[in-house]
């Protein structure tokens, strides 16, 4: 298993993303003897081996299921335990596109953070390219290092360093020999990118145009970044923002005005019938009372009988209240979305919360001055 190429069949040791539901993806390394526990049941790792990726498996108890997904950078971003702010797919896809990252590209990324964007860069650069990633926070560096190895990101060159203080120069991870990174594109996700920008000169390509993207949440950071880019000879500086949206689709019942009119008529008819019934009942009671008095029924006996009748009526009324009469939209019924006894609109909806801002993206280019 590697993020750089795709497998068809699940093998022991593979990273599998178990789809539990919604956006809930659980990363697991397939290890015989272990199992995945969800509130829908237990799923043994052994049962996954030999199945194609994308398979659905059921829990031991036979109810509840999960899907076994192949990891991709985009799914990894969803499944990730959020150690730091993550660069989500609408931003990362635009940055990759606009910096023209392709198979063979050489990229600087700092800081590594949760390593989610590193996966997308590594996938797109491929085995012919290189991602130089820097992280100053040691626990995060160690965590990322472990993860990149486990995920087969062989084209990532990870360095534990504060680039603002110590720059971007790289050394061979085996021989410790310094070498020239010769970078095509730079991505800076740092609190103060303006401190790192002056250090870029020694690592970026000298024979071709280089792109940069600085990722900063606050507008004042952007202002300082623009100044630093100008001072260091970067051109075509442009700040942008990306608005990403996600919709799901659903059914909304069509309620016709004609049905509403029919329903009103029905209500009025039933009300009129009710008034009529009440009149009959009052008349009947009156007669019964006269009769009882005439028959010499004792007062408390009459009271008890009247009380019983009242309760009986109350019960009846409760029952009729549960009957909605003309009921074109299934009021009080459990109607499933799309039930073919009703008419439906196809509509779409963003979830209840919208990511309204991630960061400002400041792009620029550096063009080396070549003499003809």
């Amino acid at each position: 298993m590697s993020f750089l190429e795709h497998k068809t069949i699940i093998k022991e040791g593979d990273l599998v993303l178990a789809f539990i539901g919604g956006d809930n993806l659980k990363p697991i390394y397939v290890t015989p003897g272990q199992s995945v526990n969800t509130r829908y049941g237990t799923f043994s790792h052994e049962s996954m081996i030999g199945l194609p990726y994308g398979s659905q498996i059921t829990s031991g108890k036979g109810y509840g299921f999960i899907y076994l997904l192949h990891p991709t950078p985009e799914l990894w971003t969803i499944s990730l335990p959020h150690r730091t702010q993550i660069v989500y797919t609408p931003d990362s896809s635009y940055i990759i596109q606009r910096l023209n990252v392709i198979s063979g590209s050489r990229i600087i990324e700092s800081g590594t953070g949760s390593g989610s964007f590193t996966h997308a860069f590594a996938r797109t650069c491929g085995s012919k390219g290189k991602v130089f990633s820097y992280e100053f926070h040691e626990p995060r560096y160690l965590q990322a290092k472990k993860e990149f190895e486990g995920h087969g990101l062989t084209n990532v060159h990870l360095t534990h360093r504060d680039v603002c203080a110590n720059g971007f120069d790289v050394k061979d991870l085996q021989t410790n020999e310094p070498f020239y990174a010769d970078v095509d594109a730079v991505f800076l996700d740092l609190p103060s990118p303006w401190e790192a920008i002056p250090h870029l000169q020694s690592v970026i390509a000298k024979d071709r145009a280089v792109g940069i993207c600085c990722f900063s949440p606050c507008i004042e950071q952007v202002t300082k970044t623009i100044e630093a880019l100008q001072k260091n000879g970067w051109i075509d500086i442009e700040m942008t923002e990306i608005a990403g949206k996600k919709w799901d689709s659903r059914k909304e019942m069509i309620r016709e005005v004609d049905d509403a009119v029919e329903r009103l008529k029905d209500i009025q008819k039933r009300q009129a019938e009710g008034i009529e019934k009440k009149k009959v009942w009052i008349e009947m009671n009156k007669k019964q009372k006269e009769q009882d008095v005439a028959n010499g029924v004792p007062l408390d006996e009459r009271k008890r009988a009247a009380q019983e009748l009242k309760e009986e009526n109350k019960r009846k009324k409760q029952q009729t209240e549960r009957d909605y009469g003309f009921n074109p939209w299934g009021k009080g019924k459990r109607v499933m979305d799309g039930d073919e006894n009703y008419k439906w609109f196809d509509v779409s909806r963003v979830g209840s919360e919208l990511k309204s801002h991630t960061s400002y993206l400041t792009f620029a280019r550096f063009v080396p001055q070549l003499k003809k």
Partner: protein
């Protein structure tokens, strides 16, 4: 499936015969080929000789001088942008300067807005200046003439004067930048040249989102429908750089890939990665394989050269189709990308069986309403998981420190994508646990 094919442009230096993208001050884009000895005519933005820009790196900006010569300059920016730059000595040298003799007002209080009345320079006079040959000096002359004949230039504030100048400079300056051709700027170009329908109204950011969601990478084997004349094929080819395959499903007799010629691909480069297959071949591979004509190589040695070439071309076509049908019948594509106007709700079920497990299904549409119908159908069809509709919109800023704000207008539309994952559901599962 050849490795290491170099795709155009094959290097980072402006070279002979390259197709390049020219960016002019107004923001317009043009594509031209670098024919030695050729003259590139940018209309009112001037003319230059191709030979004069060969050897510079892509991304280089130039100012046009007399006699179709050019001078490399740092960037295309003007006035306002440069004012705020820290190295003002450099940049003012390059920009058309604000004539210092003109007086400016503290506010625009006394400026009467009369639109075109105020410009005393006639349209004819400007037209005459514009058609005159020569370099950026002409632009300077035009702008100075316009200021001189502007009835109320001195009534404007310095800010308004600068704004006016920048606008005129963007309109008349004889400068340009040479950009490496790419799917990103080809899309911008196609859109700008009033052909948004040709690219189904797709924006640059939507293309980026599509490529990421489809998990496009070197070495993948993708199934693609592309109704843009080849833009999406081009985007995949650029990302893959010759590693992997693109099976191009189309609905015509021949796939339409005219854009690929335009950006300089050879037939061989295209054939090395693109496997065209029409809907009939895709849906009925066995029947179509039976019809696939294999030219006999009997007596081939005796053929004349042109007949021999034709034979080998036919043989190549035969093998290409056979290979493609092999790929189709493997039912294991690394993803499906659809950028076409066929109804996706009826198309997708026919394509799904050919897609590998846990691979991405990405369907583009200009209209969200069409994808709502698809999403709804796919939520019922248990073969696609995590279905949703996505949109990405970029918002660009006027990036001038002190005058920072989002651009007042931007292009509308840009399209939407449906993204889901191909899965293999078990039969007869009770729907517990799927958090839909």
């Amino acid at each position: 499936m050849t490795e290491n094919t170099l795709f155009p442009p094959s290097n980072n230096i402006i070279s002979e015969n390259d197709r390049v993208m020219i960016l002019i001050p107004s923001g317009g884009l043009r594509t031209v080929q670098m024919k030695l000895g050729g003259i590139i005519n940018l209309g009112k933005f001037g003319q230059f000789l191709v030979d004069n820009i060969i050897g510079y790196p892509y991304g280089q900006s130039f100012e046009i001088l007399e006699d179709k010569k050019v001078q490399p300059i740092k960037s295309l920016s003007f006035g306002l942008e440069e004012r705020d730059s820290s190295n003002t000595e450099d940049s003012t040298k390059e920009s058309t300067p604000v004539p210092e003799a003109f007086i400016s007002s503290l506010t625009n209080k006394d400026l009467v807005d009369k639109g075109s009345d105020i410009q005393k320079l006639t349209v004819e006079e400007i037209e005459k200046l514009k058609t005159e040959g020569g370099g950026n000096d002409i632009a300077k002359q035009i702008i100075e003439k316009m200021i001189q004949s502007h009835g109320a230039f001195d009534k404007k504030t310095i800010f308004s004067q600068e704004k006016y100048l920048t606008r005129k400079q963007k309109k008349f300056s004889r400068r340009f930048t040479v950009l490496k051709i790419s799917p990103y700027n080809m899309l911008s170009y196609l859109y700008q040249e009033k052909e948004p329908a040709r690219v189904l109204d797709m924006s640059e950011e939507t293309l980026g989102l599509l490529l990421s969601h489809a998990d496009v990478r070197p070495g993948g084997n993708y199934l693609l429908m592309d109704e843009t004349g080849g833009l999406i094929v081009y985007a995949l080819m650029e990302r893959m750089q010759g590693q992997g395959t693109i099976t191009l499903l189309h609905e015509n007799d021949q796939p339409k890939l005219n854009l690929l010629d335009q950006v300089g691909f050879t037939e061989e480069q295209i054939e090395s990665i693109v496997h065209p297959v029409n809907l009939l071949q895709f849906l009925y591979p066995e029947e179509e394989r039976a019809k696939n004509y294999k030219p006999s190589d009997e007596g081939i040695e005796g053929f004349p050269e042109n007949k021999k070439a034709l034979h080998f071309k036919r043989l190549r076509k035969y093998h290409l189709l056979n290979d493609t049908l092999d790929l189709v019948e493997k039912n294991n594509f690394d993803g499906f990308i659809s950028v076409c106007t066929l109804n996706p709700t009826t198309l997708l079920p026919k394509v799904l069986p050919r897609i590998g497990g846990s691979r991405s299904i990405v369907v583009y549409s200009q209209f969200k309403e069409i994808l709502v119908g698809l999403n709804d159908a796919m939520m019922k069809d248990k073969n696609v998981l995590m279905c949703n509709i996505y949109e990405s919109k970029v918002r660009k800023y006027q990036t001038i420190p002190g005058r920072l704000h989002p651009l007042m207008t931007s292009r509308a539309g840009g399209g939407f994508i449906f993204w889901g994952l191909r899965v293999f559901p078990k039969e007869g599962i009770i729907a517990v646990g799927r958090g839909m």
